[in-house]
């Protein structure tokens, strides 16, 4: 069965969506990803959707769902590389993905995750 690979990079997980998403694939990804976060204790998830040219409301909601699930599992999600057409479509669909962090490219997304991680370490330190 077709699957979207989830790569591990230190404390982060990297998901690159290279194919056009369909609903079944999205649900499998949700499943795989939550399991991977739990298993590897990932602190951040980076979803690269730069190759995604078409979205519908389902995929839009899926992105925001994944972010919510990851947050509950104590991992921060960053969505990177959204194409202009995709962004416009999502806005027109009324999906503003509030609460989902975004970045222009993988590099910036990584920076964002690292910064978030150091911040949260500081928080833990203060609490102790």
């Amino acid at each position: 069965m077709e699957r979207i690979p989830i790569l591990r990079m230190g404390e982060f997980l990297l998901v690159t969506i290279q194919v056009d998403m369909h609903d079944q694939l999205a649900l499998i990804l949700q499943d795989d990803l939550t399991r991977a976060i739990e298993k590897q204790g990932a602190k951040g998830v980076l979803i690269d959707i730069s190759a995604l040219t078409m979205v519908d409301s389902f995929i839009g909601r899926m992105i925001s769902d994944i972010s919510g699930m990851a947050r509950i599992l104590d991992a921060k999600t960053v969505v990177v590389g959204m194409q202009p057409a995709v962004a416009i479509t999502l806005v027109e669909l009324g999906l503003s993905l509030t609460g989902v962090a975004t970045a222009l490219n993988v590099e910036r997304g990584m920076q964002l995750l690292r910064r978030a991680l150091t911040d949260s370490h500081d928080d833990d330190f203060i609490k102790r």
Binding site: A87, I88, V91
Partner: protein, 284 residues
């Protein structure tokens, strides 16, 4: 026998007289409103050109239908003529007068040629009137078309001109918006801005609305859409150039601009953008 052809007979016989009378008539109008937009020589040239194509068409005896092949040359001349007039900024009546003023000259000649046959004269005049009216209307029609083409082109140019995306700094783009925002324009603005963000990998976009005369709920909604789309792509957005009146309107309308950074002027917005990018200046 005086048939349909009395007009063509008059034209052939008194060509020079008609030309002189018509030309005089036109020069008289030229002295008025159309002054300076067309030279007397140019006008005479147009008169000659028209008569050159008009005469064979009349002689062909096909006076009822100016859509016929006999009138192709005349139509071609008139099309070109009205297009040029439209571009030169003439009004529609000024353009149509070119044809209508020929009536006087033709009537005068017909009167002199009719040799006191009132019935024949009336019939001839009626025929000439019908013909010239048709030609006049054709002129106006093409004039209108030419004007519409000009308007369409200008609209297109305006659309392209009104959405420049400028790079203020490495990673900082600005979009000075000018004119009223409607759905079509917002779409183009949004697309070109997002495209530029991808191309330049800029992190901050400043939308300057100093040139937007009024902001209503629709415009505010369009702005919010653009901001959201930018955020989805991972860029930050600052709206600058909010005038006091617009700030009042936005609050009165109950538009929620929370979560959107707004600044009163472009300078403040640029300062904030630089600060966010970690760039600082010192005065030397």
């Amino acid at each position: 026998m005086a048939t349909k052809n009395s007009l063509s007979a008059a034209l052939q016989k008194r060509r020079a007289d008609i030309r002189t009378m018509w030309s005089q008539q036109l020069q008289a109008t030229l002295a008025g409103s159309a002054k300076g937009r067309i030279s007397p020589e140019e006008l005479n040239q147009q008169v000659d050109q028209f008569l050159r194509v008009f005469e064979p068409a009349v002689v062909s005896n096909e006076l009822d239908d100016i859509g016929a092949t006999e009138w192709a040359d005349v139509r071609e001349f008139l099309d070109d003529f009205s297009r040029r007039r439209a571009l030169a900024g003439f009004s529609s009546d000024e353009t149509a007068t070119f044809i209508f003023s020929l009536k006087r000259a033709i009537f005068e000649v017909l009167k002199e040629e009719s040799s006191n046959d009132a019935k024949q004269f009336a019939a001839d005049v009626w025929e000439a009137t019908l013909l010239l009216d048709k030609l006049g209307l054709h002129t106006v029609k093409t004039f209108q078309k030419a004007r519409e083409a000009v308007i369409n082109r200008q609209q297109q140019e305006l659309l392209e001109l009104s959405t420049p995306v400028v790079k203020l700094w490495d990673g900082i783009l600005a979009l000075p918006m000018i004119g009223t925002l409607d759905s079509a324009r917002t779409q183009i603005v949004m697309e070109s801005l997002l495209q530029k963000i991808v191309e330049t990998e800029s992190q901050i976009a400043i939308i300057d609305i100093t040139g937007v005369p009024t902001v209503d709920t629709l415009v505010a909604q369009h702005l919010l859409k653009t901001v959201t789309a930018l955020r989805l792509m991972g860029a930050d957005c600052i709206i600058s150039g909010v005038r006091p009146q617009i700030a009042q309107t936005i609050v009165h309308l109950g538009v929620d601009l929370q979560g959107v950074t707004t600044k009163a002027n472009l300078a403040d917005a640029l300062a904030l953008a630089l600060k966010r990018s970690g760039i600082s200046f010192t005065k030397s």
